[in-house]
Symmetry: C2
Subunit: 350 residues, 2 copies
Amino acid sequence: MANRRASITDLAKQLNLSPSTISRALADHEDVSEATKARVRDLAAALNYQPNQLAAGLRRGRSKMLGVLVPHIIGNFFPQVVHGIATEANLSGFNVMIFQSNEDEVQERKNIELLLNAQVEGILVSVSKSTKSFGHFETLRNNTVPLVFFDRSIEGIEGKSVGAVVLDDYQGAYEVVEHLVAQGCTRIAHFTGGLHLNIHRNRHRGYLDALRAHGLPTDEELTVLCEMSLEGGIQGMQKLLALPQPPDAVFSSIDVAAVGALQVLKHAHIRVPQDVALVGFSNEQFTSFTDPSITSVDQHCELMGRTAVRLLLELIADDPEQPPVQHNIVLKPKLLVRESSLRQPDNSAS
Amino acid sequence: MANRRASITDLAKQLNLSPSTISRALADHEDVSEATKARVRDLAAALNYQPNQLAAGLRRGRSKMLGVLVPHIIGNFFPQVVHGIATEANLSGFNVMIFQSNEDEVQERKNIELLLNAQVEGILVSVSKSTKSFGHFETLRNNTVPLVFFDRSIEGIEGKSVGAVVLDDYQGAYEVVEHLVAQGCTRIAHFTGGLHLNIHRNRHRGYLDALRAHGLPTDEELTVLCEMSLEGGIQGMQKLLALPQPPDAVFSSIDVAAVGALQVLKHAHIRVPQDVALVGFSNEQFTSFTDPSITSVDQHCELMGRTAVRLLLELIADDPEQPPVQHNIVLKPKLLVRESSLRQPDNSAS
DNA sequence: CTGAAAGCGCTAACAA
DNA sequence: TTGTTAGCGCTTTCAG
C-alpha cells in the first residue's frame, strides 16, 4: 500500500489527463464531461485523495480560515460564543483558528500576528482585560483583514472593515434595576469590575441612570469595585454589610460575585430575597442551581458568536452591490427573574 | 501607503538581495552576516512584513497546525480541555484548529476529512456519543497523521501513531464508593449514562466492584440509566425514591444529574447527606455553589488537554533515538469531598 | 556569505 | 471538452 498522500498530479498521471481537468472535475466544474468526472471521482476515492487546502489557499489567496482571539476558553460565556462562532463559520465552509490572550496585552498582540501569518481572512476579537493601547488593532485596519469585536469592544476604531457585536449592557443593567425597584427595593448596591472594560462601564451607567430615573440614592459607597470572583463577591458583600445603612438589593456585574454575596448573606442569616434581593449578570449555569436560584441577565452567547461571524463574512465579501452592512450590532439582553429577587411569589401574570 | 502585503520577493528586490538570503536572514540562519540580517529585519519591520505560513507550510510539508475534534465546546469539561490543548500547542509553536461533531457520527467523519484537508500534523479527538463504527479512525491510522484520543476513547485501535489520554474512571468511581461506605452508607445507587461510552462503562464497573469488595448489595434496580441532564437526575431520583427499599446514597456519573437528585430530595424534605448522601462526577463549577455543595471527582481537564498535546507531539516527532513513548496515558482522578456526602463534619484530620 | 533554480499542490487565464 | 503554462510565497539544495 502506497502511503504518501495522493495529489492532483498523481491522479492526472494515472488517468492520462491534465491537472487542470482533474481540478475542474473535482470542483464539479460544468465544462467537464460527466464521464471524466466519474472516472476522476472514482480514482480519487480509491486513492483516498484529500485536497490540500494549504496549496489551494495559497494559490487562490483565500485561506478559508477565520481567526478567533479570546481572553480564554473557560467559564460559561466564551466557550459558548466560540461554539456559536465555530458552528456558524463551518456552515459557510470556513475553518476556525483559536488563540487565547490570557487577558494579556502582549500575548494579544503576538496572537494577532500569528493569525495574520496563518493568512486568516478575518479576525474575531474579544479584547483582553489588560489591554490599554490599541496599536495592534489599528495596524490591522490598514491590513485588508476585516475585524469584528465581540462583547468586549473598544471605541474609536472605525473603518469600513471593522465591526462589533455587543450586548446592550446598559439596557440590561437598567432593566435589572427597574425589576428590583418593582420588587420594592429602595437602596440598591452594585458590584462592578474595572471600568475600562466597556461591559462594566455600560452596566454601571445603566445602573446609575435607572436609579436616578426612579429618584433612588446613588451614593458612591453603594458601588463597590471588586474582583470578579467568588472571593471578590464575598468581600464586596462584607463591605456593604458594614455600611451604616446597608442596601436592600445587590446587582452584581458578574454572576460568580453574586454567589459570593449570597454565601455571606446566608451565613449572616439575612434572607434572600426578603431582606436583600440579589441579581447577577451573564446567566451562568450555576445561577439556576444555587438556593435560592439567582436572577440574572442572559447574553445570548451563542447568538453573539453567530452574529459576529455573519458580520465578519459580510465584511470579507465586501460586495459593492449589496447595501452597506451595519457595522455595530447591539443585541438585546434578556432578564431572567429567579428566586433571589422575587419577593412576590405569584407574579407571573403581571 | 501601499496596501498589499509585503513578500520575501518584495524585500529581496528592495534590498538587492536574493529571496534565499532574505529567507535565511529572517530565520536567523547562522551564515548570514549580521549586517545583512539587520538590514533585512529593519525593512521587514518598516513594511510590516508578515511571513505566510500557508506558503511555508506547503513548501516544508509541515503546517504547524493541530486539529481538535470535540463533541462540542459547551459545559465545563470540553472548554477546559480545549483550553489546555490550545495553551500547550501554542507553547510549541503549533496552531490549533477546532471542529465540533455535535455528538454526531456523520459530522465527526466529515470533520476528520476537513482536518486532513487543512493539512494538520496531528489530530486530537474525543469521540462523539453516537459513534458506533470507527472506519474513519482506521483510515487515519494508515494516513501518516498521528491521532490521540482524549477522555472518550475507543478500544481496538492500535498503532504506533495512535495514543490515548483518559481518566481512570474506574478508580474514580471506586474511590467514591469507598468514601460513601466510610460515611456509613450501605445501600448505594448509581446514575449511569449510555454504557457504550467508555467513561460510563468504567465508572459503572468501579462502582460495582467497590460494592462487592465491601459486601454491599448490587441490585440491578440500584443502577438507573438516565439522561445525563438535570431532568434526567430528577426522574432518576424519583424512580429511586419509589423503590420499596430506597438507597441511602446516590453516586451520579454526571454532576448535573446529581443536582436534579438534590432538588428532588430537598423537595421531599429528605436531608442530604444525613438521609441520603450524594456524589457527582466531573467537578463542575456549580457543585461548589449548590446548598449543600456536592462531592465530586475532579478530572484534571486542563492537564488532560496538555498531556494529550504532549503525547501527540511525540508521536509526530517519532524520534527513533528516543525511547518509545507510552501510548496510553491514564490520569488519576481526585475525589473532592464536599457537604453532600460528609456525615462526620470534623473529618479533616483523618 | 550569497545567489540561482526548482518545486511544494493547486488554480486560472488562455489556447487548442 | 481538455491541455498548456505560469505562478501563489516560501524553502532548500547546490553552486558560486
